[in-house]
């Protein structure tokens, strides 16, 4: 840990507020970050973290309040103004350009880069920054599109840390990282902080926040409710402050295995370059968890079964009937429903009403001879909303206007109560979902399994795996590592997922 309170405060935020169309997202947030300090920002979804980050990085103008950097009140109109004030950002969403090379990405938008290209100097600097992050394997001249998602994220972090900023903001930077990658990133963040640069670190992974940060500010409902040193805090205490009450952790119920004929049998499933020979029999009634970091192949198992990998080979059988691979339409007809981990771009129809989204995959069943029956459709949508715990009055609102948790309920609800669906495959079922919504989703999945569906989900979160998975299959480098039933602890899973001995 680096030392807290080195030098005076570098960033002072006073009474920040911002409302969207009259709806307050941030009402009253104040905190200070000392030079060289790593400052954590916590809060569950909708607490206003992202809005604060957007105001600090010049993407939104505050309605009220001041931002003081280095003793000067600054008005950050736009990202460029923020950069001139010395603020570097790693955005919540991956913000590098796949069409450019690694080097071009590192230079893009950096104010310190001259107008006329000086390639040699830039390449040398880029090399040094990459090496600092343990990225010796990345060539600056590689097109970014040749890298995986995790490596792209690392390039973005490298870029932000290399900008000689006074303040670096990292918004959910580690969501896609393996432990080893996180370690490298944390070491680099600490090195940057040691030079006197302040860091604001936003993450859902609370243990990480406590491990990395010197001071933590907790946001709730758009206000800062607590600020204090991270040392001595526990994750549970942090959760209590975030929610205002102790979170309830439901005891994991192990469902009984049902008729073995009602199983999904996967045999020798391969996806070139991603997954090598995966075999699993998942009986209905039990929730199967695929535990693996990004790139482990866990989500590729699900995507291949959903027909989204055109190069997938192998066989899959659902209730004795073969599931066609390589074609999403035929996979759906074969009884597979897939809930993607990317709700926005590959999941929901954001501009369409929740009701439309709920019935989107069962239109033929609700109509007759290709003609819709509005009454039937309405009733089905209502029933599904009720079943998935979605407020009924939001049925006509575009689903994009709902909170992350409610969006996910719509997404999962879309696959429920559908005679055609025999297996439910979910990739990161609670990504970007608040604690309350998460419990609700978990309940839904448990019920789905109880009702006789095959439920398989892939996740990188230990807590979720342990809470929800009856059978936990660990994966690494495109292969199955272990299969755990009954009691298992997180440490064991983590060892499986990260290649334990080599790293730990």
């Amino acid at each position: 840990m680096s030392q807290p309170e080195r030098g005076g405060p570098l960033l002072r935020v006073e009474g920040l507020a911002h409302a969207f169309n009259g709806v307050p997202a941030v009402q009253q947030v104040s905190f200070t970050v000392g030079a060289g300090q790593i400052h954590g920002l916590c809060g569950h979804n909708g607490a206003g973290k992202s809005t604060v980050v957007k105001m600090l990085s010049g993407q939104l103008a505050p309605d009220r309040g001041r931002i003081v950097i280095g003793g000067e009140t600054v008005e950050l109109r736009g990202r460029q103004a923020a950069q001139r004030a010395g603020v570097a950002l790693v955005d919540q969403e991956l913000s590098v350009v796949p069409a450019l090379t690694v080097l071009d990405n590192m230079l893009l938008g950096d104010l310190g880069v001259p107008f006329v290209n000086r390639r040699r100097a830039a390449a040398a600097r880029c090399r040094r920054i990459l090496d600092d992050l343990g990225l010796e394997r990345i060539d600056p001249d590689q097109p970014l599109s040749a890298l995986g998602i995790g490596e792209r994220q690392l390039v973005e972090i490298a870029k932000a840390l290399g900008q000689n900023a006074r303040l670096v903001i990292l918004d959910e930077p580690t969501a896609t990282f393996s432990d080893a990658e996180s370690r490298h990133v944390f070491a680099a963040i600490r090195r940057v902080a040691a030079t006197g640069c302040s860091v604001v670190f936003v993450s859902h992974r609370l243990a990480e926040v406590l491990d990395l940060c010197d001071v933590v500010t907790v946001l709730r409902d758009g206000r800062d409710v607590a600020t204090g040193p991270a040392a001595g805090l526990t994750v549970d205490e942090l959760i209590t402050r975030m929610l205002g009450e102790t979170s309830h952790r439901p005891s994991a119920a192990r469902g009984p295995a049902q008729d073995p004929a009602h199983a999904l049998r996967i045999e020798n499933l391969r996806v070139p370059g991603r997954l090598g020979g995966f075999t699993l029999t998942a009986p209905a009634g039990r929730v199967h968890a695929l535990a693996g970091q990004l790139g482990s192949g866990a989500s590729d198992v699900l995507r291949a079964l959903a027909g989204l990998h055109p190069g997938a080979t192998g066989t899959a059988e659902l209730r004795g009937r073969p599931v066609p691979l390589r074609d999403p339409v035929r996979a759906a007809r074969g009884g597979v429903a897939f809930v993607s981990g990317d709700r926005k771009s590959e999941g929901l129809f954001l501009g369409k009403p929740s009701a439309w989204n709920l019935v989107a995959t069962r239109l033929p069943a609700l109509g007759r001879a290709g003609v819709l029956r509005p009454g039937h459709e309405r009733r089905a949508a209502r029933a599904l909303a009720e079943r998935s715990g979605l407020p009924g009055e939001r049925l006509d609102d575009p689903v994009g206007t709902l909170s992350g948790g409610n969006q996910q309920k719509v997404f999962v609800g879309r696959c429920l109560e559908n005679a055609d669906v025999l297996a439910l495959l979910l990739d990161e079922p609670t990504r970007g979902v608040d604690v309350g919504g998460r419990a609700a989703i978990h309940r839904l999945l448990r019920q789905a399994a109880d009702s006789g569906l095959v439920v398989i989900f892939a996740s990188t979160e230990l807590e979720e795996l342990l809470e929800l998975g009856d059978v936990i299959v660990t994966m690494r480098d495109g292969r199955m590592v272990g299969r755990h039933e009954g009691d298992v602890d997180g440490a064991l899973l983590m060892r499986d997922m990260t290649g334990g001995a080599e790293h730990a």
Partner: protein
């Protein structure tokens, strides 16, 4: 909407005017702005003039109603429309000796097949519609010149003249336009395929991951649009009684303009056939008013461009879309 901030903002309880009301209000204001000069124009409010307006809207209107479906299904626009209309017209006139019914069927089949093929490449292979339809336009136009020898196609029989009839004083094409609008609108609103077109247009990747038949839906939209283009081609052929390679004229862009004036978003997922009909009629009305007031063709085209621009901007700003 980006990130959770958008969701936070909109998830709150404060309600503003529903977008539908605002859009309707804007449409009323726009119409008023246009109609006041219209009704004060001498000879505008006559039955003959109304007929003239509808008649001039009919040809482009039929094509644009079909193009609406393509745009809603997320395939953007077709730049091969003129060429297909031309080829269809040639087929129609060239097969007149087989009888009107057979010629109509052949013409429709040609339009549907040519467009559905392009739709298949777009739907199943995810080809870029603009590149593909430019290629299609070249291929179809080139082939048409090749087979017609670059000369005019004259009909072998006069059966087609039935299509120039004017029951109740209105050209047949106007009735066909109304019928096509009703059929397309009903398909979009009330059928499974229509709903799926909106979904595919809204988010193609999501539709694919959900196992919706993206390819089939796209092909269907293009096929319907092809039938509409074919109808336009047939009426054009009957009207001019001969077909040259330039018969299609400016149909391509005129049709797109009408769809856009109808408020359909080019990015897909939103729009309606009835509104496109409104767009086509509106364009006709404006041209008519300007014509009656003695403005030149140039001014008519200029005003049409400004109208398209205005509607595109208003629709876009209202729906708050396209934030990239």
């Amino acid at each position: 909407m980006t990130a959770e901030t958008g969701a936070v903002a909109a998830d709150g309880s404060a309600r503003r005017w529903p977008p539908r009301v605002v859009t309707a209000g804007l449409a009323v204001i726009l119409l008023a702005l246009l109609l006041i000069p219209a009704v004060t124009t001498p000879r505008f409010l006559t039955l003959d003039n109304a007929r003239a307006i509808l008649a001039s809207a009919a040809f482009v209107g039929i094509t644009s109603v079909g193009a609406t479906m393509v745009m809603i299904a997320g395939s953007g626009v077709s730049l091969a429309t003129s060429q297909i209309a031309t080829v269809v017209a040639m087929f129609f006139l060239g097969t007149q000796h087989l009888g009107l019914g057979a010629a109509l069927l052949i013409a429709l089949a040609a339009g549907v097949a040519l467009n559905a093929f392009q739709g298949a490449v777009i739907g199943y292979w995810k080809a870029d519609p603009i590149v593909l339809t430019i290629a299609g336009g070249f291929a179809i136009g080139g082939a048409a010149t090749w087979f017609s020898g670059g000369t005019t196609v004259y009909p072998g029989a006069r059966g087609f003249e039935v299509l120039n009839a004017t029951p109740l004083g209105l050209p047949l094409a106007v009735y066909v336009l109304l019928a096509v609008t009703v059929v397309v609108e009903w398909t979009l609103r009330r059928t499974t395929a229509g709903r799926q077109m909106y979904l595919v247009g809204e988010n193609r990747a999501a539709a694919r991951a959900a196992g919706l038949p993206v390819g089939r839906v796209t092909v269907l939209a293009w096929a319907v649009s092809g039938a509409c283009v074919a109808l336009t081609g047939v009426f054009l052929a009957s009207f001019t009684t001969s077909a040259t390679v330039t018969l299609g004229g400016t149909l391509t862009l005129d049709a797109i303009a009408a769809v856009l004036v109808g408020g359909t978003a080019i990015s897909g997922g939103h729009g309606s056939a009835v509104r496109t009909l409104g767009g086509a009629v509106l364009i006709s009305v404006i041209s008519d008013v300007l014509l009656l007031r003695g403005y030149s063709t140039g001014v008519q085209i200029l005003v049409k461009g400004v109208l398209v621009l205005t509607v595109v901007l208003v629709v876009h700003v209202r729906s708050g879309r396209g934030r990239r």
